[in-house]
């Protein structure tokens, strides 16, 4: 096992702090949210100190600069995920992006968007397919859409090792209108075979919605090549600030889709009676946007591009392998998900039989090791493993072998303490 450490922890101010009476912080909770490099914080601050103004709404110099920064960030994101400029819509987080798609289908179903939007109308008898491994963000909006339109929710099930079970792909059938699925599970870390799902969905003419929240942050992704119709992810998981997310939508679809949030900056002509809307992406960006955060997002993309997503992925593969091997040396621990490093992220959830995750996390925290405990917003995924909750260690660009080793050592203390 070679060390592929990128040695960038020094770029991340928060990682220099200590916790619990002077302990070195070992941050293994990147699956929840990533720490931010100085370059990102500087970019956001520079925007606020030099170029802050209303975007697409002013004719003065600072407003022009703000608008240019805002759209340059969009171009950077488009390049990062293999999309066209106007296929990138800013949202506050991935959750909003997924809701945007669900609500646009609802609005079309309720008659908005004219004939262009008829293709998005749902009716009783239609089916929406999700999976048992979804984060609540890519499950509950579809439950709600089904409840409101009379469509039926069906789902792909999970295998014992936490992957999508191809044997259950036949829930995708003639009645399927939408297939919403995750690119990578935030519980099991398993990476989905996207083409297998997309091919099947395309064969029946269903729209595909990809939850790229974990993947875009850790793998090179190209939505055009993946062939999905929509994809959503969050900046805060990929070194960018909180409060900024992205929805990708295939150009032709965004063109035809009715808006979701309505208000300023997304309209053409407004009378008291009636309103016409701008083309995408503006049509989906109502109100004053998270402009300073787009500047931070731009810097995060630059940072990741400089590093190279391939190198980042290789680095994290190696950490995943080390984590899995380390966990295997602690007797009794059950990994929820694949136990081998292929086609998975460095996101490892596990069960310590007889010890509740809260207690596991507490003993780790006491040693300075920050992990996540609970259901990680994926209760059905946990239920598929027959557990209520789990402990999850997840790595990022800044983690090192030392971090993994400290975590394994900490896990041994947990077992000792409660053993």
């Amino acid at each position: 096992m070679t060390q592929t450490s990128l040695n960038v922890a020094g770029d991340f101010p928060l990682l220099g702090r200590t916790v619990r009476d002077g302990k070195r912080l070992v941050y293994l909770d990147t699956g929840a949210t990533a720490q931010k490099p100085t370059a990102v914080l500087d970019a956001e601050r520079r925007f606020n100190e030099k170029h802050n103004a209303a975007v697409h709404r002013g004719a003065h110099q600072i407003a022009e600069e703000a608008t240019e920064a805002y759209e340059a960030a969009r171009a950077a994101v488009a390049g990062f995920v293999g999309a066209e400029f106007s296929e990138i819509v800013w949202t506050k987080n991935a959750t909003e992006g997924l809701n945007l798609v669900a609500y646009s289908f609802l609005n079309a179903t309720l008659g908005l968007g004219g004939t262009a939007a008829e293709r998005f109308r749902l009716a009783e008898g239609d089916e929406i397919v999700v999976t048992e491994l979804e984060h609540h963000a890519n499950l509950v909006p579809w439950q709600e859409l089904a409840a409101k339109t009379g469509a039926k929710l069906r789902w792909i099930s999970a295998t014992e090792d936490g992957r999508l079970d191809p044997a259950s792909f036949d829930v995708i059938g003639e009645k399927t209108r939408i297939v919403a699925f995750t690119h990578a599970s935030n519980v099991t870390g398993a990476i989905t075979d996207v083409p297998a799902v997309v091919d099947r969905a395309k064969a029946v003419g269903a729209y595909t919605v990809l939850d790229a929240c974990q993947s875009a942050a850790h793998l090179p992704v190209n939505f055009t090549e993946l062939g999905v119709d929509f994809a959503a992810f969050s900046g805060h998981k990929m070194l960018a600030p909180t409060g900024i997310g992205v929805l990708y939508g295939r150009g032709e679809l965004l063109e035809a889709m009715p808006p979701f949030l309505t208000g300023g900056s997304m309209v053409e002509i407004v009378t008291m009676e009636e309103t016409t809307f701008m083309p995408p992406p503006q049509r989906f960006e109502a109100g004053t946007q998270m402009v300073a955060q787009t500047a931070g997002m731009h810097a995060a993309i630059d940072y990741l591009n400089n590093l190279g997503m391939d190198r980042l992925a290789a680095h994290e593969d190696q950490l995943a392998e080390r984590m899995l091997e380390g966990i295997a040396t602690v007797p009794g621990i059950r990994v929820l998900g694949p136990t081998t490093p292929e086609n998975r992220l460095a996101v490892v959830a596990f069960d310590v039989p007889g010890v509740h995750p809260h207690d596991v996390g507490q003993v780790l925290d006491d040693q300075g090791i920050a992990v996540r405990v609970g259901h990680h917003c994926a209760q059905p995924a946990h239920r598929s493993f027959g557990v209520h909750a789990s402990t999850r260690a997840s790595a990022g660009v800044y983690n090192t072998n030392d971090d993994v080793d400290a975590f394994i050592e900490g896990l041994k203390q947990v077992v000792k303490f409660f053993g």
């Binding site: 509740h356 995750p357 809260h358 207690d359 507490q362 003993v363 006491d366 405990v373 609970g374 259901h375 209760q379 946990h382 209520h388 909750a389 303490f417 409660f418």
Partner: protein
């Protein structure tokens, strides 16, 4: 760690008192901790102003399980007003960021004083209080019921 996981807590989390269900509870309350999906169900009957029967089921961490078990031991058979007062004092302790309350209150809390350290960890506050939230809720129901009952 030892400050948080006092022996009393570890013991009660393993050997739990009061687990079970009642046949005809006058009050019952189901509570969830959304962070972890932990849950508990507390059932209660009252008679002559006292808790006449009490039982609980639940799944959760050592803190929440020990809290339910110790709660059972401390309040079963006791006057409702005193139980409510004890609950208030316990809540006060848990919100006291790891500091003890004044000696009088610590005396009143008896073994519940072992939970003092929980207050240092804001994410665990809910664990310690989950059972007590359910009890408060269940008691309100039980007493509403008995008032209605006596009014007929």
């Amino acid at each position: 760690m030892e400050q948080l996981y006092q022996q009393v807590i570890l013991d009660h989390s393993r050997e739990r008192s009061g687990e079970g269900t009642l046949e005809n509870p006058a009050g019952q309350s189901f509570q969830v901790n959304p962070t972890c999906g932990d849950e508990c169900n507390v059932q209660v009957n009252t008679a002559e102003g006292k808790i006449s029967e009490l039982a609980w089921t639940g799944k959760g961490c050592s803190i929440s399980q020990a809290s339910l078990s110790l709660m059972y031991e401390m309040v079963d058979g006791e006057p409702v007003t005193e139980v409510e007062e004890l609950g208030e004092t316990f809540r006060e302790l848990i919100h006291n960021r790891g500091q003890e309350l004044d000696p009088e209150k610590m005396d009143q809390l008896e073994d519940l004083g072992a939970f003092t350290g929980v207050g240092r960890y804001s994410a665990r506050v809910k664990c310690a209080l989950l059972g007590w939230m359910a009890l408060r809720d269940a008691l309100i129901q039980a007493q509403d019921g008995s008032k209605e009952g006596s009014g007929e």
